[in-house]
């Protein structure tokens, strides 16, 4: 096989981190080459360098045997490198066609003749068997189709090598299957693919070879057929991984801490709605709410926290009706809330550590009296928590924006768990964290459950759901598809529910009696 691309000794330094440190990568013609590594291992940086989005500080790139200095995305595109970014680079208010032709000259002259161009693109889509709705704005398309738009966009620009950055992160299991089909199709027509992922299963399924990155170094390149799951996992994390979290058996208490009763919520654009959701979380258990992002989880979180008032229905937390209460009234209950987005929901990055830790209690004694803050009390409180939760910082006057993701997470855990809440709401809390921080978060959550708290775990990460939950509910399009005990759950069953099949429909044919 001929070498298509060689990246040699690539080094890239960002403020505070060495993102790539002497990384090598080789891709041959017509192969699917997986790039495996944890979040922060340097995969995205390496690909940004390949695509000309940033310049390497050291190293060189050989494309079809010739040394190139890729000056920008345009240059990369001209060479025949196409990129499907993890966060789609599509203008939400443009149609698929507008997005596909953006930055190209599909016709002579400055004019924009959409009809003609659409025909041209349709032909290309047919060639690769890509099903796309061309005239709808991107923001109204499902994620799987958006991804196909990205792929077609790259092909329209003559991509020979397609880089796919975490392409399955936002897809339903069925959509993942379609994607793999598309990848095989591409390979057949002579295209090479770099498949970036941190999911071992997928890498083993789809790739010909795999390169593993860790902490900005590359640790190994293997032929996928010869690789094993534990072997790759160890390469990726750098130590043997315990894939199971140690969990004590659940002790049912029968006491309801969170009761969601028939919640309805309509929204613009028709996404993230709730159509009669009911859930009950008991003390001492973890109820996992699985589902692809955008199926109402965010809306549910907002209703639970008092940010949005539901059109209908009632939410009771710790025997208090919180429907239509203010966020403060909810926060004042013995509830911990760990939101999905650390910097835009959990923390105030421009403010200091002590200010962030005081965020939910500053207005009460002892942190303030008659509307006047008591800095000494707050600082003392903050220092205690920082120590207890092992936040790495020189002092509590440090701005939160300068902390690492893991330390920011610890701050949130400290603030939300120090008062030993009886109810805990966790939403996609480990997204973007490294393995150490994820483990730490899991331990803290389990610890709360073992001490009798009821936990609602909202997550789009199926692994996380399977690994922590005692019971699993699945949400799709704002409706609960079914609830099952964790020990009875299997991956494909939950996956089917995530894509909109009801539990009854699955169990029906399986139990012909």
């Amino acid at each position: 096989m001929n070498s298509l691309l060689r990246m040699e000794n690539i080094t890239k330094i960002y403020p505070g981190v060495v993102a790539n440190d002497g990384v090598n990568l080789e891709v041959t013609e017509g192969e699917v080459h997986a790039l495996l590594g944890e979040n922060g291992a340097g995969k995205t940086t390496l690909m940004n360098i390949l695509y000309g989005m940033t310049m390497p500080d050291e190293g060189r790139i050989l494309w079809q045997g010739e040394s190139v200095r890729i000056a920008g995305p345009k240059h990369a595109t001209d060479l025949g490198i196409g990129m499907v970014h993890q966060h789609f680079m599509l203008v939400p208010r443009f149609t698929a066609v507008q997005n596909i032709i953006l930055g190209t000259s599909p016709q002579k002259g400055p004019w924009l003749d959409l009809k003609n161009v659409t025909k041209q693109i349709q032909k290309l889509a047919d060639q690769y068997d890509l099903e796309i709705d061309f005239d709808t704005e991107i923001q109204d398309l499902p994620l799987g189709m958006r991804q196909r738009v990205e792929i077609l966009k790259a092909l329209f620009r003559g991509a020979h090598l397609l880089v796919m950055d975490e392409p399955t992160a936002v897809l339903t299991p069925a959509e993942v299957e379609t994607l793999f089909q598309i990848l095989r199709n591409l390979t057949r027509q002579g295209h090479a693919t770099i498949f970036i992922s941190h999911k071992l299963e997928e890498v083993l399924t789809v790739s010909d070879r795999v390169t593993v990155l860790r902490d900005g170094h590359n640790v190994a390149t293997q032929i996928t057929r010869e690789a094993t799951k534990p072997g790759l996992a160890q390469l990726m994390v750098g130590r043997p991984v315990v894939l199971e979290v140690q969990k004590s058996p659940v002790r049912p208490t029968g006491k309801t801490v969170i009761d969601i009763d028939d919640i309805w919520l309509e929204r613009e654009h028709g996404r993230d709605q709730l159509h009669g959701v009911s859930l009950r979380v008991e003390a001492g258990e973890i109820l996992g709410l699985a589902g692809i992002n955008g199926n109402g989880q965010r809306a549910l979180l907002e209703v639970l926290c008092g940010l949005t008032r539901p059109a209908r229905g009632r939410v009771t937390v710790l025997d208090t009706d919180v429907t239509g209460r203010t966020p403060r009234e909810v926060a004042a209950l013995n509830v911990g809330r760990i939101p999905e987005d650390r910097t835009t929901m959990g923390l105030l990055p421009p403010l200091t550590i002590w200010e962030n830790l005081a965020l939910e209690a500053y207005y009460r004694e002892p942190m303030s009296r008659w509307g006047v803050l008591r800095p000494k009390v707050i600082a003392e409180f903050a220092r205690k928590l920082v120590q207890e939760y092992d936040v790495r910082t020189p002092n509590v006057e440090v701005k939160v924006s300068s902390l690492s993701g893991g330390n920011q997470q610890k701050l949130i855990l400290a603030r939300e768990l120090h008062h030993e809440p009886q109810a805990l709401i966790v939403a996609n809390a480990t997204r973007g964290l490294d393995v150490g921080a994820i483990e730490y978060t899991y331990q803290r959550i389990l610890e709360r459950r073992d001490r009798g708290a009821g936990v609602l775990l909202i997550s789009s990460d199926l692994e996380e759901i399977l690994c922590l939950s005692d019971r699993i509910a699945v949400i799709h399009a704002g409706q609960i598809m079914g609830e099952i005990l964790a020990e009875e759950a299997d991956r494909s069953m939950v996956g089917m529910m995530m894509t909109g099949t009801r539990l009854e429909a699955i169990e029906g044919p399986a139990l012909p009696s």
Partner: protein, 311 residues
């Protein structure tokens, strides 16, 4: 009373004056729409219009041609816009503050330059635009005298508004401008030069603001007066929102404001008991009400006001 009202307001003169007052707003709105569609708020519009007014007056003063004056005004507006573009695109500075700073600076600067060149006592009257009825069209009853018996600058505005509309929505360049205002990173990823497009959008906006400014010095007063644009740049900001970032709709909204201004002037001149202050405050009250009424229903460019920094 009713007949007096009709005599004053339902006349060709009144509508014609409305159009005359509206056109600087319309042309400046077109500029602001280009800029905002490209993601850059331009509060400095007022300053750019003022620079255009002075540039127009001085150009005409030295060449005795209002057309050359107009070109100078356009360039003066573009020059101020170039500073804004440098501040907000290259330095990624706060767009609103940069615009506000330019307003302050240009207000001082134009007065400074005018006084340094012409002194305090003199106020030269320069060659200016006269009404030029368009052959044939101006003879259409009612419409003709209102729309086609104006100064040439008004006709230039008609063309500009139409052109901006076409360029924004029917060309690849327009698509590019819109993309950098909606999702600059996506534009960057397909190889568009975000910074370059934004520079172009802002400077084009400056050109059109400068053109708007020449209405005042070459079309209305034939000289320059300190701060003569009188806050119309700020009205334009509101016009753009109310028009939902569409140039043609902005021209219609501008007509409304032009009419309000015409009403104000007539009340002031006639002194029929209604305080003219109210008429002059009316456009602002109207804007506030319409803006409040439109809350949540307009579609602002997604990346408006946000600097784009690579990496």
């Amino acid at each position: 009373m009713l007949s007096t009202f009709a005599d004053i307001f339902l006349t060709v003169e009144f509508f014609s004056a409305s159009v005359r007052f509206a056109m600087p707003l319309a042309v400046a709105s077109s500029g602001e729409i280009i800029s905002e569609r490209g993601g850059i708020v331009n509060i400095g519009l007022e300053g750019m219009m003022l620079a255009g007014a002075l540039g127009g007056m001085m150009g005409s003063f030295y060449t005795n041609s209002p057309w050359v004056g107009m070109l100078c005004g356009i360039l003066a507006g573009g020059l101020v816009a170039a500073i804004h573009a440098f501040m907000v695109v290259t330095l990624a500075a706060d767009q609103v503050v940069s615009g506000a700073a330019l307003n302050i600076g240009v207000l001082g600067m134009t007065t400074f330059v005018f006084r340094a060149v012409y002194g305090i006592t003199e106020r030269p009257i320069v060659a200016h635009f006269e009404a030029w009825p368009v052959p044939v069209l101006s003879r259409i009853p009612f419409i003709g005298p209102i729309l086609f018996s104006q100064i040439p600058l008004v006709y230039v505005t008609y063309v500009v508004v139409a052109l901006v509309s076409v360029v924004l929505f029917r060309t690849m360049w327009g698509l590019g401008i819109q993309s950098v205002g909606e999702h600059p990173r996506a534009a960057d990823s397909v190889g568009l030069h975000v910074d370059r497009l934004r520079y172009m959008a802002v400077i084009l906006c400056g050109f059109l603001a400068g053109l708007a400014g020449t209405f005042f010095s070459l079309g209305q007063l034939y000289t320059f007066i300190e701060g003569m644009t009188g806050g119309r740049g700020f009205i334009v900001l509101a016009v753009v929102i109310v028009a939902n970032w569409s140039p043609t709709r902005a021209a219609l909204v501008a007509l409304l404001f032009g009419a309000a201004e015409a009403v104000g002037l007539r009340l002031q001149a006639l002194d029929i008991g209604i305080p003219y202050h109210f008429a002059l405050a009316f456009p602002y009250v109207l804007t506030l009400i319409v803006y409040a009424g439109l809350a949540g229903r307009t579609r602002m460019p997604h990346a408006l006001g946000l600097p784009y920094v690579k990496d």
